[in-house]
Symmetry: C2
């Protein structure tokens, strides 16, 4: 079905252009005109695919989140093997910190959406909460494994483990902010994340932390 | 000198109005017209005090940072007494997390400036780096005290302590983002910060952590 493939590619070509425009000049710069020019297509085509500016921005946000999730998956272990919890969490760090130019640009895009959502309606804010909630769950599950807690039922998870998972998420969000703002180099941010893993695995109940 | 007092009050009246406008509707909404209307003054008066929009925004950013610093100072110990390091760091957490409506609005304002600076010139970014650098220094000094390291000279600080101070800053930034986005309640963010303090004081070289 070549026609469907063309549609998906065309949409991606346009959201890629929107990511570059937003990363360079902010959310308000992402007009239909600017994005169409960046993508090398007509304004009418952008309208055809995304309807209005909100539709374009929602699709662009989704593209950035999907790219994040894809990096996340690509860093995972081969099917059938489970990496040690600490390695799994290192993979999360590597997938989500802005360690290269593309991820840095995406982090700028996410910061723009975050700032915009804060001053918009509750629905815009709610849409930004799905990814962090899922991430906290992934992190807590790895900490449960490391601490020999198995797979606790809903509401049965140790309160310290839940707080450690939120601490992990907050640290990644803060380090991302520090790197894109130029307060830390990517390598320094990685070292700080590693230091957090030291703390989290020092307080586990079981044997020595895997390295 | 009643005239000078009037000037300072008038400027504060206008930056207070700008904080409300930005907290409600974002940085781009803070036009001279909107801010003048919110402050109940004329557009000409805003121009008289701040020149152009960049001047108004810079003064507003400064007002938010100063309010933060004032809360910081107000939470400190009486002159001549030094609180235990953990209490001092608790004071930093309480001063900086968005625990009430005013601080929440200020956090939204800072997120807007952060997002805008990312897509502007290096000078705009540089202006946002002063506060985090100073804060990391304050936190590292408290950790040095707790760990019996005295006051290390420049470049002599333990690398773990430097990373812990950056970890503290990143966590506060991430928790602030979580609270303003609605991912965490203020009370939950405080509990996560307390959990970080548990980790930081568990790994200190000296005796038991002060409570």
């Amino acid at each position: 079905m070549p026609r469907l493939v063309d549609h998906a590619e065309r949409r991606e070509q346009i959201t890629d252009a929107a990511r570059r425009v937003i990363g360079r000049a902010g959310l308000d710069a992402a007009t239909f005109q600017a994005v169409a020019a960046e993508a090398g297509v007509s304004v009418r085509l952008v309208q055809y695919y995304f309807g209005n500016k909100d539709g374009l921005l929602a699709a662009t946000h989704r593209a950035v989140v999907d790219a994040s999730a894809a990096r996340f998956g690509a860093g995972g272990a081969a099917p059938g093997t489970l990496p040690p919890p600490r390695d799994a969490l290192r993979g999360v760090v590597a997938a989500l910190l802005p360690l290269d130019a593309q991820r840095r640009a995406d982090a700028v895009v996410l910061a723009a959406f975050h700032a915009a959502a804060l001053t918009r309606d509750a629905a815009a804010r709610e849409a930004l909460l799905t990814a962090p909630r899922a991430l906290v769950e992934v992190v807590a599950a790895q900490l449960d494994r490391a601490r020999g807690a198995g797979t606790p039922g809903r509401g049965e998870r140790d309160v310290e483990t839940s707080r450690d998972a939120e601490l992990f998420l907050a640290t990644l969000a803060g380090l991302t902010q520090s790197v894109v703002a130029g307060h830390l180099e990517a390598e320094q941010a990685l070292a700080v994340a590693e230091r957090l893993l030291d703390h989290l695995f020092a307080s586990q109940a079981g044997g020595p932390a895997p390295t």
